[in-house]
Amino acid sequence: MVQFNSVHVLYLLVAAKWTIALSLIAFIGGAVLGLALALARVSRFKILRLAATGYIQVIQGTPLLIVLFLSYFGLSIAGYQLDPLVAAGLSLTLFSGAFLGEIWRGCIEAVPRPQWEASECLGLGRLQQYFYVILPQAMRIAIPPTVGFMAEVVKNTSLTSIIGFVELARAGQIINNATFQPFLVFALVGAIYFAICYPLSVASRRLERRFHVAR
């Protein structure tokens, strides 16, 4: 058994860097997928709507851990030996994309109907309506819940430790196994997660208040 010392703290901080990197990958990837899903959900074509809805319902009804396992093992079956960061990033992207898609669909639908009518009566085509009138307003509505979801993404990265990616949670386990001081180690790990997530939660709440005041 080793005494808990500053080297361990450093190890945790380095692992935290990987947590942040993975969170960014998952968020950006999820954003791209989420936008596609949101647009598909409100599209005119029934098959797009059904496909997007089906995907979102399945992902939202499955635990993240299972989604991680499925994509991890699914990938190795397909013959791909991926770098753990890439595999973890891909799995989290598939998961985050579904949730972001659902959030953003709600934001698109929150743009008041008269905005659709006014732009249509001015002669704008559907794509023009989306690009110039609807999406800019939907984005404003989307900022608070999206920032809030970023905290969710960071917390979700902790599960990738189970498929072998060494990030903050895994680092904590490793150190705990060496020092046998779970309260100290996991409290510290928790504090680091808190330091990352809490500002995002607060920002999300402030943005929500400001948005409501403005409207």
């Binding site: 009518e117 249509e120 001015l122 307003q137």
Partner: protein, 250 residues
């Protein structure tokens, strides 16, 4: 009435029927509008006035009859014909519906550049022109939330006017405004009428309708209950419903 009554009417509504579920909201409505005329549509809430306007503008489909406006056939077909319609018909809503994330100038130039494909320069000139027409020439860079209700409504009128429509539809455009702000909007509409714009307006402003409109349509229960030249309608209402309505409105 209109000087060239021999010419083809700009708007022709024939036996239009509109159903919401099983309810007949419009029951064989017919009337015509000649170029340069202003028609005021009056009546109680629920009489079908707004629905009529929305059908004429193509926002709602009809289940019977025909609507012909500026040569376009409206009401039953889809999006494509609606787009052609937008060039000739402008509509101003009760809730202005300005785009909150764009400046006043951009609200007006948006359709000019995207739909009428005008170059930016020309669009800005047109925007400045119509804005001064409605008395807001100095508010080009303002955002809708910085303007009063009356000012926003005038911008909405300018936005439709900028596309040079042949007919303009007004759906209770002053109903959401405080009384002090109503006057400025009515003045703009009166100016438009004097310049010869063909207008159909749904309104509760009886004084305004009486003073400015050429023809009045009184709607009741989804039908055109009475119609005729303004003076006749107000001075000599033929049905008790119209008489009651005029009394209650004044």
């Amino acid at each position: 009435m209109s000087p060239d009554s021999a010419a083809k009417p700009l708007v022709r509504v024939s036996d239009v029927v509109k159903l919401f579920g099983a309810v007949k909201v419009l029951d064989r409505v017919s009337f015509t509008v000649d170029r340069g005329q202003m028609i005021a549509v009056i009546g109680r809430s629920g009489a079908g006035k707004t629905t009529l306007l929305r059908c004429i503008s193509g926002l709602e489909t009809i289940q019977g009859g025909e609507i012909e406006i500026c040569g376009h056939s409206v009401g039953t077909s889809g999006r494509h014909s609606r787009k052609a319609l937008c060039r000739d018909v402008g509509i101003v809503f009760q809730s202005y519906n300005l785009f909150p994330h764009l400046t006043v100038e951009r609200n007006i130039t948006l359709a000019l550049t995207l739909v009428q494909k005008k170059p930016r320069r020309e669009a800005c000139d047109i925007a400045a022109g119509v804005l001064s027409l409605v008395g807001l020439g100095d508010r080009l860079d303002a955002y809708p939330e910085q303007l009063s209700g009356g000012q926003q409504q005038r911008v909405a009128i300018a936005r439709s006017l900028a596309l040079s429509p042949q007919v303009m539809l007004f759906d209770e455009v002053t109903s959401a405004l405080d009384p002090e702000l109503t006057a400025e909007v009515l003045k703009v509409m009166e100016d438009l009428a004097e310049r010869g714009m063909t207008m159909i307006l749904v309104t509760h402003e009886m004084g305004f309708a009486r003073r400015v409109a050429d023809v009045v349509l009184f709607m009741h229960g989804g039908k055109v209950w009475e119609s005729g030249p303004t003076e006749e309608i107000f001075a000599d209402p033929r049905t008790s419903e119209l008489r009651q309505f005029i009394v209650s409105a004044l």
